[in-house]
Symmetry: C2
Subunit: 246 residues, 2 copies
Amino acid sequence: MAVNSARLPEAAAGRAHSCSTCAFTNLCRNDGIDENVVAQVEALLVDETSQYAEGQHIFREGDPFDSIAAVRGGTVKTYVLDREGREQVLGFHLPGEVVGLNAIHSQSFPCNALALEPVVLCRFSFRRMSELAALIPDLQSRLFRLLSEDIGKAALLSGDFSADERMAAFLLSLSRRYARRGFSPTRFNLTMPRTDIANYLRLAPETVSRVLRRFRDDGITQIDRRDLRLLDIGRLESLALPVLRH
Amino acid sequence: MAVNSARLPEAAAGRAHSCSTCAFTNLCRNDGIDENVVAQVEALLVDETSQYAEGQHIFREGDPFDSIAAVRGGTVKTYVLDREGREQVLGFHLPGEVVGLNAIHSQSFPCNALALEPVVLCRFSFRRMSELAALIPDLQSRLFRLLSEDIGKAALLSGDFSADERMAAFLLSLSRRYARRGFSPTRFNLTMPRTDIANYLRLAPETVSRVLRRFRDDGITQIDRRDLRLLDIGRLESLALPVLRH
DNA sequence: GCGCCGCCTTGATCCGGGTCAAGCCGGGCG
DNA sequence: CGCCCGGCTTGACCCGGATCAAGGCGGCGC
């Protein structure tokens, strides 16, 4: 990343910040970029680090948009309520992932975000991020890419896939996302209740239960309450093929 | 939009371009921006204008990404093929809309784009657009917003909505999008075959046919082949409520 | 004008998963 | 220890929409 340090604003010089799972850091990771530069830029961007207890809201639909949040620890659920008050789960955000990108458009959050377990996250001022992006071409293009990446993400929800296909894709998605952040891809916790999984996959909770049982009976997984082991990733992948397409 | 014209590159001085339905023009529209400035910036961005006959491909999955396309006339269908070769329709792009935003991430097109009728479109160099965006803060934020807007768009496909709800939302969406570009919101052509509508809505073609018939019988629409009139927008809106949420 | 072909419609049947209704099981608390 | 409560599982039944199978109909070529 080409950073002309002379052009960087000199604010935030004092603020020390190190956030190894922050989205920004991940944006820059694996590119052989000078770590000092990354840290410096990150210090400019990160507003604050905050914690939330299980069940607390990070933001609510309609809240004014000012910053993007990067999850450092815990799981965040985003959802909307329809006119009858029924919940609709939009997604789960794991450590290292970003929440709130869809708020840029309307300048206010179009959904609610809730901590499913104790959550640590840091907030980026989007205004400051944009200003920096204008100075650092590579940061700009990374932002564009990050936004573009999310456009195609809805594939898991859309499509007329069977319950098995949806569930396989969901478990694989979790596995891959944990792996990317350095966690085990074959053993992790389902940090969300079954009802949320069901809601997210557009299935009935009973169906989720039945599918998970079938996966266990077939030796694809080993599962005890929320403790999950993936025994046969290959089988999961072939099940999820129609959904994930690779 | 604050444009410091002194900072604009002086390329493209000779190229005359006027494209009243181009995405960029629409980005700037309704903001009281000096028309000359818009035209000037547009001239810098627009690479070329090209035409496609019905059935021709605009790009195919895997093609290298270089430019974003704005539809000036006609309808573009985007779709992917799964491993078994079965088509999956991702969306329809009407005049004034943009195709290819989801290619920024991977630098190659993740789907195919096909002209459903004779199509005119113009291509924007995304590289040049980014460069300009760095100079013009408002352009950058408009681009961010455009990308962000698309992230939430998949709602129509996702969700476990009934056939009636999906169809109502689809027709309303077309109506509103045509209206935004100055076409009639109550009478327009379904420029795509029923099979494509069905595929897009994740329904069987037979179901599409039956739902359209029911809408006609109920006096909600008047339809003859592909010529569609919306007689009762209110009823459509209340049907589509769960899908569109406003 | 006639016949073919593609797109669309209509009817009959079937099935995946939703819904309803109980039970299970583990964790927290008195 | 025993009770309660919430999250999860299991079973029985039902329904919306897919699937299968025929036609209808309009446009185009010969």
